[in-house]
């Protein structure tokens, strides 16, 4: 592939993935409102379009045309930059995530992924670890006590849970032997005992790692039951108290984009990525992996919403104790056990 | 192709900026950040030398530098918090007594 085709293909892929991601973000919001509504014996959005399906568009237009208030005492450069940072870091990590196998038309062949790097998982971890800045800086620059408390809580919480999150993934890395997300999915191909798929969740005690990863990821994305940084009963709206209109919407988008990244990573690392039955003509065989991948991501997003509709919020000291005294030792124990299993296995 | 000396000059400039910050800054947190900047400059020359001699040890040293920097930041920030609790200032010119 020469450099011109490479650039054109990359630009097209990036635009396509961005479009799909932003649409997915909008419809995850819709899904959440609808599902939580039904769980609480309400209808959720019904007025705009059939089943309220046009609600995200209406919300988007509303956010665009609302007055963008800037409170007088904020530290302006950071106040404006913070939501942008949040959204940029949330969206960028999608660049290394593979959605399916290879796509080929005639001689042309490209993966369903913007780019495949051999430190893919580290790139995702690095970019998501930078996501703290958006939240922390918005809390600090708003110059309001609720925002500041939210920002402080967010930075402490995200740094703490990042450790458990990273350690829970080491077991998978030991089994797969590569940082490349595509390589990790390929390491999960096939079955054992004839019928059980060779997913990492079923192997070497990685079920524990899966549990740790999901819990820590909920805390990383500031979702219930770990949404202390924006606990509306204590902190008004936490770190985005002083934000309105599009800037507020950016934090919202960042949160949901992060949820989608977490769901993608969980599917790739533990549930075999895009593996699934392939049948039909060759074009269908190329596109079916996308569907299987999408189903897993949808499942994870549904669990996110389900958890939100079910669990109450932690208290802050409980949150810290849970992260440091329970999840972290558990992650280390899981790591030791996985390493022993790999070493002792003939 | 970039001459290796360019990388070393860049690393030297970063180190000099760190030294300057260490000298002229009065806020103890910023002084700490200047130290981090110096360590970063050194890391760059480690990686550049690793590329020059085709020895991965240079890159391994960077890890040790990072671990030491992280440990130093943790202890240093704890000291800053303890200091702020007793003196209620971050200006090092006002921290000139060994006891209260």
């Amino acid at each position: 592939m020469n450099i011109t085709t490479f650039i054109i293909v990359s630009v097209i892929k990036t635009a396509l993935v961005l479009f799909v991601l932003l649409t997915a973000v909008a419809y995850t919001v819709w899904l959440e409102r609808k599902v939580v509504g039904h769980m609480q014996n309400r209808w959720g959005p019904t007025r705009v379009g059939p089943f309220g399906l046009l609600q995200p568009a209406a919300d988007g237009i509303k956010f665009l045309f609302k007055e963008d208030l800037t409170p007088p005492h904020v530290y302006k450069p950071l106040y404006i930059a913070a939501p942008m940072l949040a959204v940029i870091f949330a969206v960028t990590s999608i660049a290394v995530i593979p959605f399916g196998n290879w796509f080929s038309v005639g001689n042309f062949r490209t993966p369903f992924q913007i780019t495949d790097v051999n430190i893919g998982l580290l790139v995702v971890l690095g970019i998501t670890s930078l996501g703290v800045y958006g939240v922390a800086l918005s809390g600090w620059s708003s110059n309001s006590k609720y925002s500041l408390l939210g920002g402080l809580r967010a930075s402490a919480q995200m740094v703490s849970y990042e450790i458990a999150l990273g350690l829970s993934l080491v077991g998978v890395l030991i089994l797969a032997g590569t940082f490349s997300l595509r390589g990790i999915v390929e390491a999960q191909a096939g079955h054992f005992w004839g019928f059980i798929p060779n997913w990492f969740i079923f192997r070497g005690g990685q079920f524990v790692a899966f549990f740790i990863y999901l819990t820590a990821a909920y805390a990383e994305t500031n979702r219930i039951p770990f949404d202390l940084p924006e606990a509306e009963t204590e902190l008004v709206a936490g770190y985005h108290t002083e934000y309105s209109a599009m800037k507020f919407a950016m934090f919202f988008m960042a949160e949901y984009a992060n949820m989608i990244t977490v769901a993608c990573l969980a599917s790739l690392l533990f549930l075999g990525g895009w593996s699934g039955p392939l049948f039909g003509p060759s074009w269908l065989q190329q596109l079916l992996p996308l569907l299987w991948f999408f189903l897993r991501v949808f499942g994870f997003l549904f669990v996110y919403i389900w958890v939100r509709g079910t669990l109450p919020r932690f208290r802050y000291d409980q949150l810290m104790a849970f992260g440091w005294k329970f999840l972290l030792p558990l992650a280390i124990a899981n790591l030791v056990v996985t390493a022993l299993v790999v070493v002792l296995k003939p | 192709m970039v001459p290796l000396s360019y990388y070393l000059v860049l690393s030297g400039i970063l180190f000099a900026c760190g030294v300057t910050g260490f000298l002229i800054k009065r806020n103890i947190i910023t002084i700490f950040m200047s130290i981090e900047l110096m360590l970063n400059g050194v890391n760059l020359s480690f990686v550049a030398f690793a590329a020059r001699w085709q020895q991965l040890s240079g890159q391994v040293f960077v890890f040790f530098v990072m671990v030491v920097a992280a440990a130093e930041a943790a202890v240093g920030l704890a000291i800053i918090i303890a200091l702020f609790r007793t003196r209620e200032t971050l200006n090092i010119d006002q921290v000139n007594l060994l006891k209260l």
């Binding site: 430190i119 971890l125 | 202890v75």
Partner: protein
């Protein structure tokens, strides 16, 4: 050529960030410019092929250490620094000395350099190779640093914990 362009662009970002760290009066601005320096340095590492080091640089430095700095600045509500007489001495004597030393080092490096050139990805630092080195040749230093980190954790906890006497007077008083 591409290498030189990328090197210069991110090198300029590095130097700009470092100078901005010096010029800014507010610690949070300094901290953010240091984050920029670290990000640009990660790109320079990538240009030399040290991909794993670059990733760790972003995760550990920009994502953890600097977040701690920002956290402490937020926690202590650090304001702009004041100018005092102590810094004037440093300005007058320190800056010229540093500049002179810098110029000499740069001149020595550029004029008498036979250090060779580096291409893009001059030494690919694959994680597996680095791990080989880290867990065989450098096993002892690795274990020693782990002890160091443990001591640092305990030190940080002891230092940052409130003294019990303070706690008790608060409770009673």
């Amino acid at each position: 050529m591409l290498h030189l362009i990328l090197f210069s662009v991110f090198g300029l970002v590095c130097v700009g960030g470092a100078v901005n760290l010096l010029l800014q009066r507010h610690p949070i601005n300094s901290a953010l410019s240091l984050v920029v320096v670290m990000g640009a340095l990660a790109v320079e590492f990538l240009l030399l092929g040290a991909e794993f080091v670059a990733a760790i640089q972003v995760i550990v430095y920009a994502g953890a250490v600097m977040v701690l700095f920002v956290f402490v600045i937020m926690l202590l509500n650090a304001g702009e620094e004041e100018r005092t007489s102590g810094s004037r001495v440093a300005w007058l004597l320190g800056i010229p000395a540093v500049l002179a030393g810098m110029v000499i080092v740069c001149w020595a490096l550029l004029a008498r350099s036979n250090a060779g050139v580096a291409a893009i990805g001059a030494l690919p630092g694959h994680p597996a190779d680095i791990a080989q080195l880290l867990f065989h040749q450098f096993l002892l230093p690795f274990e020693v640093t782990s002890v160091l980190v443990l001591i640092a954790i305990m030190g940080a906890v002891v230092l940052a914990a409130r003294p019990e006497s303070v706690e008790r007077t608060k409770r009673e008083g």
